[in-house]
Every structure is written in C-alpha cells, then in structure tokens.
Subunit: 358 residues, 2 copies
C-alpha cells in the first residue's frame, strides 16, 4: 500500500479531478491523472471514495511516485440525475467537494467528465460568477478546416439570453481564444441565419448593436457552417441554439463514422486496402474528436471549471487536465474581471482595429 507521494520541488499547477464523473469512472480518471502527471507539470487532487480510489491508483501506479493526492467524497452525482435536485441533496458529492478546493484556492482548476448540468449548477453555486458577469457560459472548442479551433459559446448553460449576455459571452470567448488558444486577434462572430445586420431574430439583432461597439474584432453575423469553416475564431449564441448546434454536430459525426465504416467495408475488399483505410479512418476520427481538445470550459465563474464528455477515456482526461492548467496559468479570469471593470459606460463607436464590421 502506497502512502501519499513526496511532492517534487518544482512549481506545479494544482488541478482537482472529479474521479467519479465519466461513464466508466474511476478508471479513465485514475489513468488520465497518471498520464497527466507524467507529461505535464501538474499535481492532481483526485476526488471520490478514498479507499476505492487509492486501491485503483495503486494498481495502476505499480510503485511509481507521482503527485496525485486522493481527497475523500462519499457521494456521486449520476449522469441522469436532475441537476437542481442533485446539487441540493448531495452535499458530499465529488463535484462539490472538488469545487470547494478551488474556491479555497488550494487548487487552480477543476475537471469533471460527469453530468454537465450538475457541474454547471455546482460551479455557479460553489464558485459564483466573476464580478461583471451575469451568466457564465459553457464553451465548446471545435475543429475547423483552417486547423485553428473555433470557440462556440454558450452551448447550454443559459437557455434564455438577453443581448447583454451575448455581449459578455463575446468578451469572455475572445479572451479565451487569445489567452489559451493563442489567436492574436480573434475574429468574433454572432451566430445568425444571414450575414446582413438585419438578419436574425430579435435577440441577435439587438446583440449585433452591442457587439459592434465592443473593443473586439467583431466580424458581424455568421451562419452555422462558419463554425467549421475557419471563418471565425469565436462564435456567440444563446445556450439553446448553441446546444442544438453542438448536439447536431455530435449526431452527424456519429452518422458519418457509421456510414464511413460501412462504405469502406463494402467497397474495400482487399485485406491490405481495408487495413490502410482503417488506419485513415482512425486518424480521421481522432482529428474530429472533441476529446483531443480537452473538454468544455465554463467561462465566467470565479475559478477554472472544465466539463469533459461522459465517454472520456484516459487520454481525454489527461488533455482536460492540461487544458485546465493552461486556462489557470493564462490568468483569463483576472483578465475578464479587469475587462468588465474597465468597460466604459458609453462605449466607443468603432472597434479598436478599425476593421469593417461586416
């Protein structure tokens, strides 16, 4: 039986990992934590039923000493539990215990692959919103044909939004793209159904007026196809529309994989050809895989909170831990706070780059 390892004497970023989040928890979490500690300068606080976690950890570590710290939490919020009820009733859930560590500043970030609604509700309750932020936003980082990912928000935290919420999403998304994804001058678009300013619904038309006065590189309305074609670095929308766009993509992605497998099986008869194609298919699926991007950050809460997919494997967990550490190191939350506290009451008439708004 292993005791807690001695921490190495270098600066590590502390990340809390909900060990009971994913569909197959805690195996992917335990193995993901190990991978992350081996590859990145992080210390992982693994939260869940202590005895069981310690046993699983010992199995996988096989005596190796890594900065993984087990924190006890006796309850688990299931995937199908109603967020509001679970958050209220399960006071010793791995999510709640984990987020408290972030609130107490004993860790820089939190990652869970569990129930998205419960994670958002718990984070909002335990961490609270950043000053100036009315509504935190769940943010998806999606692949594009240009190779540089597109930041889409909100994808489900806020079903009904006001124009001011979309304005705040734009500021937060731009900051994330600039600080974590290292895009120098992120192009920010407003998701609508036509390019002209007049196109869209009441919400988007009003939000357009606010966005074009922000000190960001606002490129005007964009359409659904622009999420993937590399025309925008950040796209804002209300949480209902963003969630539909994200889940539609998920559904189409699955259909495509199925169809592709069938097409390859049907047309590629030679053994060698099938083998080669299988390799191509695998590489392709990896490129399309959101898991490579490490989960969806919840932007606008006081602390770093990343929500991974329930089907996360160890590699996805490792990437999520890396993303949480990068997010924390980039100091985005301080920047968002500063941005909102500095925002002029009467906004400037043009954007700071003097670019055409269409």
């Amino acid at each position: 039986m292993m005791s807690q390892p001695a921490w190495p004497k270098i600066a590590l970023t502390d990340i809390v990992l909900d060990a009971m989040g994913s569909d197959k928890a805690p195996e992917p979490e335990v193995r993901g934590a190990i991978l992350a500690c081996r590859e990145h300068a992080v210390r992982v606080h693994l939260v869940g039923p202590e005895a069981a976690l310690r046993a699983t950890l010992d199995d996988y570590l096989k005596g190796e000493r890594l900065p993984i710290h087990v924190v006890n939490a006796t309850e688990r919020i299931g995937m199908d539990e109603k967020a509001a009820v679970a958050v209220r009733n399960k006071r010793d859930s791995s999510m709640r215990v984990g987020l408290k560590i972030v609130r107490e500043k004993r860790a820089a970030g939190f990652l869970t692959a569990g129930n998205t609604g419960a994670a958002m509700a718990t984070a909002k309750m335990v961490l609270g919103a950043l000053p100036g932020v009315d509504r935190p936003a769940l943010t998806a980082i999606l692949p594009t044909s240009s190779g540089s990912p597109c930041v889409l928000l909100d994808v489900g935290a806020n079903v009904e939004c006001k124009p001011q919420n979309l304005e705040q999403f734009a500021v937060m998304g731009e900051m994330y793209s600039r600080s974590v994804l290292k895009i120098a001058r992120p192009r920010v678009g407003l998701l609508s159904i036509g390019e002209e300013e007049s196109k869209g619904n009441e919400l988007t038309r009003e939000a357009y007026g606010l966005l074009k006065q922000l000190p960001i590189n606002f490129i005007g309305n964009v359409e659904g196809r622009d999420i993937y074609n590399g025309n925008a670095d950040v796209i804002v929308c209300d949480g209902f529309v963003g969630n539909v766009a994200l889940k539609t993509s998920e559904g189409l992605g699955r259909l495509v994989s199925e169809m592709l497998r069938e097409s390859l099986t049907r047309t590629v008869t030679a053994q060698a050809g099938a083998l080669l194609s299988r390799k191509a298919l695998k590489e392709f699926k990896k490129r399309l895989d959101y898991r490579e991007y490490g989960g969806a950050p919840l932007l606008g809460v006081r602390g770093v909170c990343i929500v991974g997919h329930g089907s996360s494997n160890d590699r996805a967990i490792m990437n999520g831990i890396r993303v949480a550490a990068e997010f924390a190191q980039a100091g985005i939350n301080d920047r968002i706070e500063r941005e909102f506290s500095q925002r002029p009451i009467d906004p400037p008439p043009a954007n700071r780059f003097g670019l055409p708004l269409q």
Copy 2:
C-alpha cells in the same frame, strides 16, 4: 430546330422547373429535365429566356422527343439578391412566372434551385398559404443511421415562431413523412435541449403542451443528435434554430470530406489502396448528399414548391422533379387542408395511438 414535342398519350404529372435557379443554370436544369422525362412519368415546363433555353435544349436532346415545354421569362433572381426587393421588382422572373403556372393549375408542382428566400417569398405571394396554415415551413429531408430519412422543419422560413406555428409544422411534417416518405406512423419530436417536458425555452415548453394533444405519434422533446440517429421521423423547431442546425451540418459535412480526403491521402500510400478508398469516399459522400433527397419542400402553401440547393447538378434536378411529382400525387395539400379544417376546438387528451407521450 425542334418544335414542341407531341405529348405521349399517357397520364403525366406536370412540373414547372425554374431553369435559371442553380449556380450553373441553365445547364443542370436542362439536363435534369431530360433525365427526369426519360426516367419518370413527368412533363416539364422549363421557365427562363426562351431562345437561349430552346437552343440549349436542342443541343442536349439531339433530336430525342421528350415532354419538355419551354415557357418564356425574361428576368432572373440572383443568389445574393434580397428576397423582398427581388420579388417586388422582378415581375417577369423565372420564379414568379413558374409559380403562376402552378397557381393557375396548369402544373402540379414547382422546383427551383435558386435563391431560397426569394423562392419562399414568391411562393407565399403567388400561391398563398393553405387554409388553416399561418406560416408555411421550409422542410429539410435528412439522412439518418436507420436509413429512413428525418423530416426537419422549419429550417428557415420563419425566424420568430409562436407555439401554434410549431404545432402546425408538426401536422404538416407528419403528413409529409406519412404520404411521401411512406412512414406508417411517423414519430414526431420537438427539438429542445433535454428530454423532459420542462427542458427547453419558453417556446418549446408551450409548444410541448400543444403537441402532446395532437392526434399524432408525439415522442416528446428530442435533441440535436436525434436528427441523425433515427430516433425520430419528424422534428419541429423554429426557423432560426432549424436553419442553424442545417447549416451547421452542412459545414461539418464539408469539414469531414476535407479531413477525410487528407487522411486518406496521407495514410493510404499504395496506388490500389488509394483507388479503393476513393471509391469508398465517393460512395460515402453520395449517401450523405442532400441532393439524393431532391431538395426542401415548402410545406403549407397552396401548391407544391420545392427548393433545391444552388449547387444542384443534373441528377439533383432530376430527383427534385421526381419529389415534386410524388408530393403532388400524394395529395398532401388536400390532406393538410382537411386536417386543419377538421381539427377539434377542444383537442382530445391523449394521442390516437395511446402511446406514452414521453
């Protein structure tokens, strides 16, 4: 120079084709009309600049006699023209002249691969809405993993909807699925962001109450992924959300094709393997191709109106003509009219199949 052909003595369905719709018009239209006449029992009214059309037609027909009738229209509505302006100013556009033929009952249906907004506006103006229908809906027919297509509406005709509009979309979509796609008991879902009745925004929550009282097989809320996984035969939503879902799919579809081509090129080195894979890729793209489904019907207008994609090729045009003919033969509009005229003031408490509403 060919004279008008003598019509064969069998019953033909008359379909009007906007010859000036697609990006490469009129070639795809002329060739698509020829393919349709050869393969299906249709007579095509080809609308556009008469002399030019007749010359192109003669080139492709090479003396073959087919029931294709040229109708003169001197103006063309461009892809980027504003619908409202184009409809008002271009009184001799191929769309308007073509739709008038349908209004005058000299043809059973109309197909255009032109400007979607202009086609919808012209159809609403020239044909008008069916009695009982407040808002016609643009309808996409999408592929699913079950092999049976999913009917999604509205995908762009109505940006802001009331719950009653979604209710009417459900009735019309169900009718289309049953009559044209031959689904015996279409499962109708309401596009939302969670399965429970309480999930969604104000519009979907109110629409839920109306839909569950309809005499259709309402399966409750569905999510974006259900568009493609075969869980529903008909999915209703407002035109903003539907348009975002459709265009997001289009964008992802394109990204997938690009990535796939790259992955195959990179990993499949042997000539034979590349050849086989290219065949698989082609087959796969065909299965995902909306063109195989023949365009998007505008449901709820007095007459049959189908809008194809601007990039339609001759095969897409042929399929669109076939779909228009099937739509007309199915007598859907009469059924929709009957349905709305027969609808009880006080709707029955359960659906007619006694199925659980969740």
